[in-house]
Assembly symmetry: C2
Homo-oligomer: 235 residues x 2
Amino acid sequence: MKVFIVHAHPEPQSFNAALTNYAKTVLETAGNEVIISDLYGMKFDPVSDRRNFTSQKEQSYFKQQQEERYATENDSFSPDIKAEMEKLFWCDVLIFQFPLWWFGLPGILKGWVDRVFASGKTYGGGKWYDNGIFKGKKAMLSLTTGGKISMYNEVGINGDIHSILYPINHGILHFVGFGVVPQFIVFGATQINDERRKAYLEEYKQRLLSINETHPIIYPVLADFNEEFQLKFPN
Amino acid sequence: MKVFIVHAHPEPQSFNAALTNYAKTVLETAGNEVIISDLYGMKFDPVSDRRNFTSQKEQSYFKQQQEERYATENDSFSPDIKAEMEKLFWCDVLIFQFPLWWFGLPGILKGWVDRVFASGKTYGGGKWYDNGIFKGKKAMLSLTTGGKISMYNEVGINGDIHSILYPINHGILHFVGFGVVPQFIVFGATQINDERRKAYLEEYKQRLLSINETHPIIYPVLADFNEEFQLKFPN
């Protein structure tokens, strides 16, 4: 397997960093290739606008998706974006490693998605969801939370974690075609002891080494929807 | 009313910009004060790390929330963050104006939240949700989507928009105490004609001028949860 880990944490000694480093060791030891984009380490710029492109279709009015399609045709994405796109197309498995900040991706990682998942290049023209460009590849979120596990379900104060992550799992990863395997979560990361951390690393190892055999989350397929993109037979 | 609009769109001629400009005119004409943070115009830096602070509690290991609490005690947030916090505390009503990118906030706005909504300053020590620091103030999302309305509900291909926005409405705005009024959404923004755009502006005007009388979305209150932060009497 070729595994691409997009890593977003500002502290190199963090447990997020430990998870990424451990994933690299475990996966390489098992004969896989691993590439890491350490967004803080790279000083990745997460602001999406004209800086994404080295040429412009329309100077007077910036339409991001139009410019993305133009850049796809003309191979004119900026070098930082092009490098990330190459890793994305190279990989068989994509992993986002991040702390859950404000119930979503850290800004630096959200901006990575905004800039790298460009129209024309990663979706468009009927290429989305189960017909997406990255169909056949797998993706997984690996994250840490501040709050403990009891807070993140239907009766928990923060709401159901599956629902919280749905816009990322379904709306980002599955949108471009990835088969999304269930997320790996370290709850209450700052409050646990070393023994618990070691147990989490061991659990992560098992998840990583079985990712090929892990069934993706099942979502409705394009054929289930009518021309208004509504389910043909709700219930 | 003192209204603070955080605006996140790279094109000054966009419909998002029209909505923000119109809101300013409408609200000021009605005797309110309006402050706008145009994040692209300001070249706001959305990367959250040590740059948020002018002094440090711990040099050897960066713990963001610990540093935030230290900066709260020592008034040592960086000037760009401090300026945004002042607007946040000044306002009675907070509005986020943005295009829905990848089913979430654009990276520049997500990073604004990551940096400005600091522990100690905007939450912590039992100050959250209905006991939050901004209790009594109101907040509203105003957004545009690329897809049309039929795609964004329980039977739509993209999922229910209320569920997609829950991590923002509940997890960001309500978390720090705001009463969150229902979002204003322009669906299929790039596909509608001028007449429809004018109708949306008129609808937005009515929403803005009635915001004081609009009841916030009802969420469970802290008193409904036990010491594990689970609902005391689920069903």
